[in-house]
């Protein structure tokens, strides 16, 4: 059981070893990146996990449904954008948040909005983007991203069948 879970990791470790053999410098560079990403993971995940743990335990399903579930309308959309925008951490940090949201029956399109916003409109990244690429660029990208994200979420709602979505939510329940 343990081995199966870590199979992917073990394979990539072996690949790293192979890289070292063929190109030691590249191996070192890869290791640098790995160490950086690992540190980032340890830095970013704990508070997020604590917050979603607290949300899971303290916020009742009914409240979340009212705020972001079916029929929550614009409220749900805005909150989904809000959570995604004030987030910290890479995209993968959004996945556990999505799980808890699914447990609380947040609308599927709002979860997609959360994911896309977390990736594309995070404020810390926006600030960085403004300094590196200019205020106009960042503002423009933000402006066009909002309708695009809503469109993607809407399309996902159409493309993914109801029973598939239900199955995903069921899976989330067990976690």
């Amino acid at each position: 059981m343990f081995l199966k879970q870590y199979l992917f990791f073990i394979i990539t470790l072996i690949l790293l070893g192979i890289l070292f053999i063929f190109n030691f410098d590249a191996g070192l560079k890869a290791t640098d990146v790995v160490i950086y990403s690992f540190k980032e993971m340890l830095l970013v995940l704990p508070p997020i996990f604590i917050l979603i743990g607290l949300l899971d335990v303290w916020i009742p399903k009914e409240t979340m449904i009212r705020l972001m579930g079916e029929g929550s309308g614009i409220k749900g959309i805005l909150l989904a954008f809000l959570f995604g925008t004030v987030a910290a951490g890479p995209l993968y940090a959004a996945f556990p948040v999505a799980i808890v949201f699914m447990k609380k029956r947040v609308k599927f399109s709002n979860i997609i909005i959360l994911l896309c916003a977390w990736g594309a409109t995070k404020i810390p990244m926006l600030l960085f983007e403004m300094t590196a690429l200019g205020f106009k660029f960042a503002l423009l990208r933000l402006a066009i991203n909002i309708p695009v994200i809503i469109l993607i979420a809407y399309l996902m709602g159409i493309l993914i069948k109801k029973d598939e979505i239900a199955a995903i939510y069921e899976k989330a329940n067990d976690l």
Binding site: A30, D56, W58, A88, G119, M125
Partner: protein
Amino acid sequence: MGNYIFNGVIYLIAIIFLIISLVKSRAKTKQALLKAWNSFKYILPMLLGVILLVGLILSMLDTNIISRIIGEQSGISGVLLASVIGSVTLIPGFIAFPTAALLLQGGAGYTQIAAFVQTLMMVGIVTLPLEIKYFNTKVAITRNVLSFVFSIGVAYFIGFILGIW
């Protein structure tokens, strides 16, 4: 640096709510922490693999090479190339943006850069296994494909507007 300020704020918020929770109910707080720990256990194995994969890819596709590839190609192939590279990588922001800025100074078009940045942020080929695990294959692939396609649209939009603004 702004990234770490946000991270710090989130730590603060987490600690504050944790303390409030502790005061209200020790049992529930313990439950919350247990769930937090389980979330971590669930993501860890695959995430380690993803992190290693990112390292492997970035060792061969570093910022210099990316600059060269994207910088040299103009037109549609440049945009597509930038999109593909952005999709595959999971570069930390503090590396990606300066790289993009350098590209800009080097003469690359806004369209290519926008394509790179947009796909970098919204599309994740490397995180796909993780996304599949949390949702399902169809959802993960659909979201990424849609993001990819729209990213190209976004890129051209930005390129067009910045051409006249």
